[in-house]
Amino acid sequence: MPGKFSLKRAHATQKKQDRQPNGHLIDLRQVVKTYTSAAGTFMALRGLQLQIGSGAFVSIVGKSGSGKSTLINVITGIDRPTSGEVMVDGTAVHELSEEQIAVWRGRSVGVIFQFFQLLPTLTAVENILLAMDYGGRFPMAERPDRAMALLQLVGMADEAHRVPHSMSGGQQQCVAIARALANDPILLAADEPTGNLDSRSSELVMQLFGTLADSGKTILMVTHDRDLAARTHRTIRLADGKIEDEILNH
């Protein structure tokens, strides 16, 4: 697999995890999230308990409104729980200020969205460089080579200097995955990453996740596709803001 430095760092992360008392990369305790609007109060998460070990490839399934996206948003710090604790790699995410969360997320989590969310005015490689700029984890001089290596890893090196709108959806999502890996995060969080892709592109993305999981990345994927979920290590099914059941796939 190309991108040797990713592997090296994945091992370094692994060692750090082993030193943690409970060994969980993600530890959610009694997480409640309520939204209040003019229509009343809606409880999106109802006291969720969840532990995920380092290096796991986990899918989260459930009907729309079951709390899937909210769950991923509280883990990545995009949203804040109303009560409860969200620990990720020893960081109490729920206690961080907005500003601290952004810095923490930039360095620790790579987020992948259904609609890719690449900046349309930047080329593929620039989209990745931008994320590195924000993470500040790699020295300036290393960044261009690292960005190209990541594009190579996702099979998009030939598209490095194209802008997003000139690429297919599948290509854009691969670039978005390369961007998510820009700062070598401990966790990849993907919210319906194949939701806007045809089956061939979905397959490409799933293969990429498989390779990354094999190299030790922890991946959390929200999906409504049961077949794709079955290809992860563990599937967590949500219903009405609670875990309904869990399946160990393999």
Binding site: V109, Q117, L129
Partner: protein, 245 residues
């Protein structure tokens, strides 16, 4: 120059900042060729608020993409702020955009994982413009100008659509480009928030910036200092045709 529905007192004497000559854009696909733009001639003067209006599929977005260098025209010439944009590679076009043109999209295209102020600092950071301390001060000033400074530390999802679009405008102006180009900027907004966005454009034009906006909405189009209509990839000129009738 093509005359058109120009309000009195418009900027006739200002220098031409954008010029398109015989621009063609042809897409080739499995189904054959589609002419998205045909023989477009257009000039925009500095501090104009030019609106190009037309139905979906008329070539509006292709026009915007060619002008901003996000796409390349098949033939013809596009000169923007002194640069022959039609000759730029995608890579060079991206560098050129940083300081010359801010782009605003219908769906805002903000980075969901960054706060408002970070979204605005991002283009400055990337272009290496302004020193770091000046960057955050400038970002806050830009947020203030679009009246969302109170939301500086929020992520886009915590903002309303209108607030997100004003944030996107602040980001587009981060490196102080002379030109702002907007593709259906009010397309996802209700009329009240759309009005607020259009007022922000007015403010930019008053400060000497040039705004090019495409929209399918006739009411929104009426807001510009000059309006052109595009249909089937060609610019129509109602005023000119009327005077020759």
């Amino acid at each position: 120059m093509r005359s058109s529905t120009t309000r009195p007192g418009a900027v006739h004497r200002a220098p031409v900042i954008m010029e398109l000559r015989a621009v063609e854009k042809i897409y080739s696909g499995v189904g054959g060729q589609v002419t998205a733009l045909h023989c477009i001639d257009m000039r925009v003067r500095q501090a104009e608020f030019l609106v190009v209006t037309g139905r979906s599929g008329s070539g509006k977005t292709t026009l915007i993409n060619c002008v901003t260098g996000l796409d390349r025209c098949t033939s013809g010439e596009i000169h923007v702020a002194g640069t022959a944009v039609h000759r730029l590679s995608p890579e060079k076009a991206s560098r050129w955009r940083r300081h010359n043109v801010g782009v605003v999209f219908q769906s805002f295209e903000l980075l969901p994982t960054l706060t408002a102020v970070e979204n605005v600092m991002l283009p400055m950071d990337f272009a290496g413009s302004f020193d770091v301390r000046h960057q955050s001060r400038r970002a806050l000033e830009l947020l203030e100008a679009v009246e969302i400074a109170d939301h500086a530390r929020k992520v886009p999802a915590a903002l309303s659509g209108g607030q997100q679009q004003r944030l996107a405008i602040a980001r587009a102006m981060a490196n102080d480009p002379p030109i702002l180009v907007a593709d259906e900027p009010t397309g996802s907004l209700d009329s009240v928030t759309a009005e607020a966005v259009l007022r922000v454009f007015d403010g930019l034009v008053e400060r000497g910036k040039t705004v090019l906006m495409v929209t399918h909405d006739k009411d929104v189009a009426a807001h510009g200092s000059r309006t052109l209509t595009i249909a089937d990839g060609e610019l129509l000129d109602a005023a000119e045709r009327a005077s020759h009738a």
